[in-house]
C-alpha cells in the first residue's frame, strides 16, 4: 500500500484506451465498474476530442457480483460489435474486474465474432499507463501484422503516437515532412490515425521509426524479430538528436539523408548575443525518460544551460536515465512521488524547471519558472497551433517554449541596474507575463522566493546563519538569481567552516563561483 496524492501515470487500462482512442475501426470492451467511465473525459475534455473514446464499459454494480458478471461482459461485447461494427476488438479488465477473474478473452472468443478479438492482460496492481500503451499496441501488432513484400520505394512506419500524448499530433506531421525531405515516405502511422487494416500492412515498410519508446518499444522489437524491420533508436527531439536520427536512417537505408535545414532556427537563436544570458542557467529536468533524455541534451548542448538534476517517473527507463545522469555528473531521481520531486527542486534551487504539469505546480509553489516537456499535461498543453517537439521545427518550438518563462536578457540587465525602481523592481516579475504589477515593499519584508531553510545535506554539518547586513544585501539581488546566490553562499560558507554569513562571505562566494 502506498499513499499517493497526485500520480504521474494512470492505470494500465487508460494506456489501452490511449491506443484505442488514437485508432479508428477498433473497439475496446472494458470490464469495469460504474465510475471508470471518468477516463472518457481525459480525451473529450483535456485533449478536446470531438468523439467519445471507442470504449464500452460493462458497468457492473455490487448486486451483479453475486450473480453473473460474465454474462454482463458477453452482452456488452456483443452489443458493442453490433452497434459499432469494428474491424477488430480489444477486450480486457480494469483494476476491479481483474479481481473477479471473468476472463474477458475467453468470454469473447465464445461469441465467435467474425472479427479478430485481442485479449489484453494488464496487471493493474503492478503496472501503469505507459505499460498499458506499450503492451496493448504490441498485442494488436502481434495479432494483426503480417509478413509481406516490402514496398518498392523505401518506406517506414511511424510508431508510438497515441491519443493524449504530449504533442504526438504535431510530431507525426513534422517527422512525415522531414522524412519526405530525404525521400522516404510513410507507410503507416500507428497507433494514432491507423485502422486495424493499416496495422495488417505495417510489414510492407522497410523500417520502423520508434517515436516514443514508452508506448511502442515492445511492438518495435517484435517487428524487428518477426518481420525483419530494423527500428530507429534515436528520438529526434533537439537539433543534435535530429541530425543523429538522420544519420541513423542513412545507415539503415543507405540513402544520403540530407535534410533541408533552412527552417531550423535554434542554432542561430542560441548563438545570437541576446541569448548570452542563458549561459549556465541552472535547470532541473523531470518527466518521462525519453523526453528527459532529449531535454537534457538540448539544455546542455544547445541552450548552454547547466543541468543541476534530472530524473523520470517511469521506472522502465530507470537504467538509461541513471546512466545519463552519471554522464551529466548529477544524481538521477527515479520516483513517482511528486513530493520527492518537490523536495529535490527545493534543495537544488534551479532557475528553471523543465517538467510535466506536476512540476509546473511545484514551480508555482516555489516561485521557479517552468516549461513543460513531457506528459502528463493539461488542457493548455494541447495547443491549437502547430507546435511539435520533434525535428527542426520542434527544436524551434523548444527554444521559444523554454525561453518564455525566463526574464529576457536586456530586461535582466535593467533589473540589475534599477532594482530599487518603484515600478521596475524585481517583485514585478517578467514584464511579458502580464498580471498586475505588485507594488514594491519598502524596507524589506521577507525576501520573496528565497527559501529560508538550508539544503538538507548541509544541515547536519553546520548551522549557517545570515547576518542582517548580508541578508539585506542578498535581497538586493534580483529574484531570478537570488536562489542561486543564497545556495552558493551557503555551500561556500559550509565548506569554509564559516557559521555566520556576512556581506564579505557573500562576495567571497560570488568571487569563488565567478565564471
Amino acid at each position: 500500500m502506498k499513499l499517493s496524492v497526485w500520480t504521474y501515470e494512470g492505470p494500465p487500462h487508460v494506456g489501452a484506451m490511449r491506443v484505442a482512442t488514437g485508432m479508428t475501426g477498433l473497439h475496446y470492451v472494458l470490464h469495469a465498474p460504474q465510475g471508470d467511465t471518468y477516463a472518457d473525459l481525459l480525451f473529450t475534455m483535456i485533449e478536446r476530442r470531438n468523439h467519445r473514446p471507442p470504449v464500452s464499459y460493462t458497468t457492473f454494480q455490487a448486486r451483479d457480483l453475486g450473480s453473473d458478471t460474465a454474462t454482463l461482459f458477453k452482452d456488452a461485447a456483443r452489443d458493442a460489435y453490433e452497434r459499432f461494427q469494428p474491424q477488430a476488438m480489444i477486450v480486457g479488465a480494469s483494476c476491479t474486474a481483474e479481481l473477479i477473474q471473468d476472463d474477458p478473452g475467453g468470454l469473447t472468443e465464445a461469441l465467435n465474432l467474425p472479427i479478430p478479438v485481442i485479449p489484453l492482460e494488464l496487471p493493474s496492481y503492478q503496472r501503469k499507463e505507459n505499460f498499458g500503451c506499450d503492451e496493448t499496441f504490441f498485442q494488436i501488432v502481434r495479432a494483426l501484422a503480417l509478413p509481406m513484400e516490402r514496398t518498392p520505394e523505401i518506406t517506414c512506419n511511424l510508431i508510438g503516437p497515441t491519443a493524449l500524448g504530449f504533442r504526438h499530433r504535431d510530431d507525426v506531421e513534422e517527422l512525415t515532412r522531414l522524412l519526405s525531405d530525404i525521400g522516404i515516405s510513410v507507410n503507416v502511422v500507428a497507433p494514432m490515425g491507423s485502422t486495424p487494416a493499416d496495422i495488417a500492412r505495417t510489414g510492407a515498410a522497410h523500417f520502423n521509426v520508434l517515436m516514443y519508446p514508452e508506448t511502442a518499444e515492445a511492438a518495435a522489437r517484435w517487428c524487428e524479430r518477426e518481420l525483419g524491420q530494423p527500428f530507429t533508436k534515436v528520438v529526434p527531439i533537439g537539433v543534435g538528436a535530429t541530425r543523429d536520427f538522420l544519420a541513423e536512417i542513412a545507415t539503415i537505408t543507405g540513402l544520403p539523408c540530407k535534410a533541408d535545414e533552412s527552417r531550423l532556427r535554434l542554432p542561430w537563436y542560441s548563438a545570437s548575443v541576446d541569448s548570452t544570458y542563458l549561459t549556465g542557467k541552472r535547470v532541473f529536468i523531470f518527466g518521462d525518460g525519453t523526453h528527459v533524455a532529449a531535454a537534457a541534451r538540448i539544455a546542455r548542448d544547445e541552450m548552454g544551460f547547466e543541468v543541476t538534476g534530472l530524473g523520470c517517473y517511469n521506472r522502465e527507463m530507470a537504467r538509461p536515465i541513471r546512466a545519463l545522469a552519471k554522464d551529466f555528473g548529477v544524481d538521477a531521481l527515479i520516483t513517482e512521488d511528486y513530493l520527492e520531486v518537490e523536495d529535490a527542486i527545493r534543495e537544488l534551487q534551479p532557475e528553471m524547471i523543465l517538467g510535466t504539469q506536476m512540476e509546473r505546480h511545484i514551480g508555482k509553489r516555489l516561485g521557479v519558472p517552468c516549461a513543460v516537456i513531457s506528459a502528463p499535461v493539461h488542457v493548455q498543453d494541447f495547443p491549437a497551433r502547430y507546435s511539435p517537439q520533434m525535428g527542426f521545427e520542434g527544436a524551434n518550438v523548444i527554444f521559444d517554449t523554454w525561453v518564455h518563462p525566463l526574464v529576457m536578457g536586456l530586461e535582466e540587465h535593467l533589473l540589475h541596474m534599477f532594482r530599487s525602481d518603484f515600478e521596475f523592481h524585481d517583485d514585478a516579475g517578467a514584464s511579458h507575463h502580464g498580471g498586475a504589477a505588485t507594488a514594491r515593499v519598502e524596507d524589506g519584508g521577507p525576501a520573496p522566493q528565497t527559501p529560508r531553510s538550508l539544503p538538507a545535506e548541509m544541515k547536519e554539518e553546520a548551522q549557517v546563519i545570515w547576518l542582517d547586513d548580508a541578508e539585506r544585501e542578498l535581497r538586493k539581488i534580483p529574484f531570478f538569481v537570488r536562489g542561486k546566490a543564497r545556495r552558493n553562499t551557503e555551500s561556500f560558507a559550509a565548506r569554509q567552516g564559516v557559521s555566520e554569513i556576512s556581506v564579505d562571505t557573500l562576495y567571497e562566494a560570488k568571487a569563488h563561483y565567478a565564471r
Binding site: 500500500m1 499513499l3 497526485w6 471518468y38 476530442r49 470531438n50 454494480q61 496487471p123
Partner: protein
C-alpha cells in the same frame, strides 16, 4: 403559514411512467464527492483505500489540481496487499500513522472504500474502529464506501454524511438540522433567512469543524438541501428526527417552497415570512428573468448525473419557460423527489438509470436546444451540433437559494448565448 406553489394545470410527473434502463452508465462514482467534501470539512482528511484508478479519477475530476496539498489521498493497493503477502490492515495503520503525523491539523479521518477494497472485502469499518482507538481523542476515524459498484456520483456525499449520523451526539432539544454540503456563502444566506424568521437553533450536517454543535434526537426536525441524501435521511429518521419534505431550494419558487415548509413547521406567521423573503424573492425573480431570456421557449434534455435533474427540470420549466423532453436521474426516490415531480409539468420522459448508447440515440433524435450531460459526452455532442451544458458544474457552483437563482439560470443560458455569439463562417 404556507406558500404553496401552484401545481401544473395538466398535472405533474409524480405518476408518470418511468423508463428504467440498465447498461453502460456514463457517470462518476461516489469518490468524486471528496472533491467538494474536503473543502467543506476543513479539519477532515479523506483517505481512499483503492487502486491507481481511484487516484487517477480524483485528480482528473478535480480538473485543475488543487495543489495546496489537498486533504485527500489514495492508499494504492499493490500486488502484495491482494495476495495476502502483507497484512493490508497493518499497511493501512502504518500509512494512517504517517499521514496523521504529517498533518497535525486533521481531526477527522474518513477511510473511503472503493471498488477493489469492496471486492477483496477489506473491512474498513473494523479498521476505522481500531484506528479511532489508536488516535483518540485527537482524531475521529469513520468509514464509508464511495465505490462505483455501490454509489453513483453524489451518492458518495450521502454515504459520507450517513457515516457521521451514528456518532452525532444525542440531544433532546428542538433543533433544526440542515443537511447537505453547501458552499459557505450559500450556507450563510440560508441560515440568515431562517434565523431572521426566528427559527433556531440551527445545526448543520456536515458541520464545518468537528467541534461544531451538531447533534440529533427525537425533537430534531431536518430538511435536506440536496436531493441525493436518501440514506442520510433514513439514518437521521432512525435516530428519531423528523424529515420536512419539500421541493428543493433551486430558483425563486423552489427556495420559497422549501423555506415555507420549514417556516410552517416552526409556526412562523405569514407576515414574518413575507418580511424576510419578499425582497430576496423579488431580486431572484428579476435576476432569473434577465438570465433566462435565452431559455424561454427552448427545450432541454437531461442525461442522468447527480440526482439534481428533477428539481432542476422543475426550475427550468416553471421559472425559465423551457420544455423538458427527457429528464433522467441515476435514481428516483419518491420520498425525496416527489414534491418536485408534483410540480414538474407532465410531458417529459422520466428515466431512471442509463444505457448510454440508447439514450444517446434518443438525445440525437430529440435534438433538444440544450442537452445537459457529463464531461465525457459534452464535446462529442457539441461536435454533432447539439448545445450542451456540463452537469458537473451544477454540483461545483453555488446555485441554491434566492441570491444564486439568477446564476443558476445563467449556467444554462450561457452555452446557448455563446453559440449565438460565435460567427465563424465567412461573411460572404
Amino acid at each position: 403559514m404556507t406558500v404553496q406553489p401552484t401545481p401544473p394545470p395538466q398535472g405533474g410527473c409524480r405518476n408518470a411512467p418511468v423508463l428504467k434502463e440498465r447498461g453502460q452508465r456514463e457517470v462518476f462514482c461516489g469518490l468524486t464527492g471528496i472533491i467538494w467534501l474536503h473543502r467543506k470539512m476543513q479539519d477532515a482528511f479523506f483517505l481512499v483505500v483503492g487502486s491507481r484508478t481511484c487516484a487517477h479519477l480524483l485528480q482528473s475530476a478535480a480538473g485543475v489540481m488543487i495543489f495546496a496539498e489537498p486533504r485527500f489521498g489514495t492508499a494504492i493497493l499493490e500486488e502484495g496487499d491482494l495476495a495476502g503477502l502483507k497484512d493490508a490492515n497493518q499497511e493501512l495503520d502504518r500509512e494512517v500513522a504517517r499521514l496523521l503525523e504529517r498533518r497535525p491539523d486533521i481531526r477527522q479521518l474518513f477511510l473511503v472504500g472503493s471498488c477493489p477494497s469492496e471486492v477483496i472485502k477489506l473491512d474498513l469499518s473494523r479498521a476505522a474502529e481500531r484506528l479511532s482507538q489508536t488516535h483518540a481523542p485527537r482524531v475521529r476515524v469513520l468509514n464509508y464506501s464511495g465505490s462505483g459498484i455501490e454509489t453513483t456520483f453524489t451518492e458518495g456525499e450521502d454515504a459520507c454524511l450517513c457515516s457521521m449520523v451514528p456518532v452525532l451526539p444525542k440531544t433532546d432539544a428542538r433543533e433544526l438540522l440542515l443537511v447537505g454540503a453547501l458552499p459557505d456563502v450559500v450556507e450563510d444566506q440560508m441560515v440568515g433567512l431562517l434565523e431572521a424568521m426566528g427559527i433556531g437553533p440551527i445545526r448543520l450536517l456536515p458541520a464545518r469543524k468537528i467541534d461544531d454543535e451538531t447533534a440529533v434526537g427525537p425533537n430534531t426536525v431536518f430538511a435536506l438541501t440536496q436531493p441525493f441524501l436518501g440514506e442520510t435521511a433514513a439514518a437521521l429518521t432512525g435516530r428519531g428526527a423528523t424529515h420536512i419534505a419539500a421541493p428543493f431550494p433551486f430558483g425563486e419558487e423552489g427556495t420559497t417552497a422549501w423555506l415555507s415548509a420549514i417556516a410552517s413547521e416552526f409556526g412562523v406567521d405569514a407576515e414574518t415570512f413575507a418580511a424576510v423573503t419578499d425582497a430576496p424573492r423579488a431580486r431572484a425573480r428579476k435576476a432569473i428573468a434577465q438570465a433566462s431570456e435565452g431559455l424561454n421557449g427552448k427545450s432541454v434534455f437531461f442525461f442522468p448525473d447527480s440526482q439534481l435533474e428533477i428539481p432542476l427540470a422543475r426550475f427550468l420549466t416553471r421559472e425559465c419557460g423551457m420544455t423538458a423532453l427527457e429528464v433522467a436521474s441515476p435514481y428516483i426516490n419518491h420520498a425525496l423527489h416527489g414534491p418536485d415531480l408534483d410540480l414538474l409539468p407532465a410531458g417529459p420522459q422520466i428515466a431512471e438509470g442509463q444505457d448510454v448508447e440508447k439514450q444517446l440515440d434518443r438525445a440525437r433524435a430529440a435534438r433538444a436546444d440544450l442537452t445537459v450531460c457529463g464531461l465525457g459526452l459534452a464535446n462529442p455532442l457539441e461536435a454533432e451540433g447539439l448545445t450542451t451544458k456540463w452537469a458537473i458544474e451544477l454540483v461545483f457552483t453555488p446555485v441554491h437559494f434566492y441570491e444564486q437563482a439568477g446564476d443558476l439560470a445563467g449556467l444554462f443560458s450561457r452555452p446557448l448565448r455563446r453559440r449565438g455569439l460565435l460567427k465563424l463562417e465567412a461573411a460572404e
